[in-house]
């Protein structure tokens, strides 16, 4: 009888080891030994009852904690749903069945939402117009190329989102894997990356007039001068450099790198800018996929973090960089 009671209690305690507070020490061991020797079944019965009571009461607490967690989660998710409603409707992930994929994409989308809503209203409107034009291209229409404001706002949203993604995935391999996952999941959304990055969409970024081109140059501190009327001003030089960037093979690469270092990526190492210029040249002149996740990963990691803010400031103004900084809280 005593052996049966001891064995039963032992095996039960072993099954519930992780759930019970530890009891031990020589006094406890002595008591166990004594009870066993004196065949005191009552001792083991009492220990068993104490432990079972403990587990029942702890189980109730656990249940209450789950209920509290459930209530908090429900309110938090309602708040998130309200904030994400428009973006989710636009992207439409109804065909993405895997819950983990949906959550992952939702997190990336949230970065996009903060990047977009962190800009003032005028830039938000410009970014929305740019998205409408992309939709029109997908429908086979030929909208006018982006204005400077549309390009700048859309690029700023992209850069701010990439910056937040880099904060979440600081290792290059993880970042690349995240981008691949985004591309794959986006196939089932209203905005597949293939649609965003195909050559017809990228053509929208082409500068439509000298006036629009000058806005880009002004953004990076280059002003047109009287010399430009005779083909010798700064604006003309930059225009020639950018023409060389679109040639295969690239022309005056060193000049382009120097220009980028001076005006576009002042903090990035010159050697890294050389890589960036090479990638940009491949993107402009290459066939097939204009911007693969490999290229986008390389671009993201060659650039110094400070130059993300520099670019955003140049494109949409300093007041619109704030969310990119707040986004770091998400890490």
């Amino acid at each position: 009888m005593i052996k049966f009671a001891v064995d039963k209690v032992k095996s039960w305690f072993s099954e519930n080891k992780g759930e019970l507070p530890k009891i031990g020490g020589s006094r406890f061991e002595n008591a166990l030994k004594k009870a066993k020797e004196s065949k005191d079944v009552g001792f083991f019965k009492k220990i068993f009852i104490f432990a079972k009571t403990f587990l029942t009461e702890s189980g109730e607490v656990k249940k209450e904690k789950e209920a509290v967690k459930g209530e908090a989660s429900k309110t938090v998710e309602q708040g998130v749903d309200a904030t994400m409603a428009d973006a989710r409707k636009l992207i439409n992930l109804e065909n993405v069945k895997d819950e983990k994929d949906r959550q992952f994409y939702d997190e990336v989308l949230a970065m996009g939402v903060t990047s977009y809503e962190g800009m003032d209203q005028a830039h938000q409107v410009s970014a929305s117009t740019a998205l409408t034009k992309i939709d029109q291209v997908a429908e086979g229409k030929k909208p006018e190329n982006f204005t400077f404001e549309e390009s700048a706002s859309l690029i700023a949203v992209g850069i701010k989102t990439l910056k937040q993604l880099k904060t979440k995935y600081p290792k290059k391999a993880d970042f690349k894997a995240a981008l691949d996952r985004i591309v794959k999941i986006s196939d089932s959304s209203s905005y597949p990356f293939k649609k965003l990055l195909n050559s017809d969409t990228l053509k929208l970024f082409s500068v439509s007039s000298d006036e629009e081109g000058l806005k880009f140059l002004n953004a990076f501190g280059i002003q047109a001068s009287a010399g430009d009327l005779f083909g010798s001003g700064d604006a003309t030089k930059v225009k020639d450099l950018m023409t060389g960037l679109g040639k295969s093979p690239i022309q005056n690469k060193e000049g382009i790198v120097d220009f980028m270092k001076k005006h576009v990526f002042p903090t990035t190492d010159k050697r890294d800018i050389t890589h960036v210029v090479g990638i940009l040249n491949e993107m402009i002149t290459g066939d097939g996929d204009k911007l693969s996740s490999d290229k986008l990963t390389d671009l993201t990691f060659y650039l110094h973090d400070n130059d993300y803010d520099h670019l955003i400031t140049a494109l949409v103004g300093k007041s619109n960089t704030s969310v990119a900084k707040l986004g770091q809280l998400a890490a």
Binding site: P21, K34, S58
Partner: protein, 76 residues
């Protein structure tokens, strides 16, 4: 208000995904939404705190009872 939410999120039991979404979206959430989330997290914090206390009392009761039993057995 936002910094209080960030503090509450550190100990909250909601999922990592929900935490990430709140941290990311906080700068663009409407004040009413922020208030609701803060209230919910604050309520969770104080209720979980009380339940932790309750759990401690249950553990204490168990330990005291076992101690008493061990003491009685050793005195026999």
């Amino acid at each position: 208000m936002s910094s209080k939410i960030l503090t509450l999120l550190q100990t909250s039991s909601i999922s990592d995904h929900d935490k990430f979404m709140v941290r990311t979206l906080l700068p663009v959430m409407k004040p009413a939404v922020i208030k609701q989330i803060e209230d919910a997290l604050q309520k969770e914090f104080s209720r979980i705190g009380k339940l932790d206390e309750k759990q401690k009392r249950i553990e204490l009761k168990y330990n005291v009872m076992v101690e008493k039993l061990v003491e009685m057995e050793n005195k026999k």
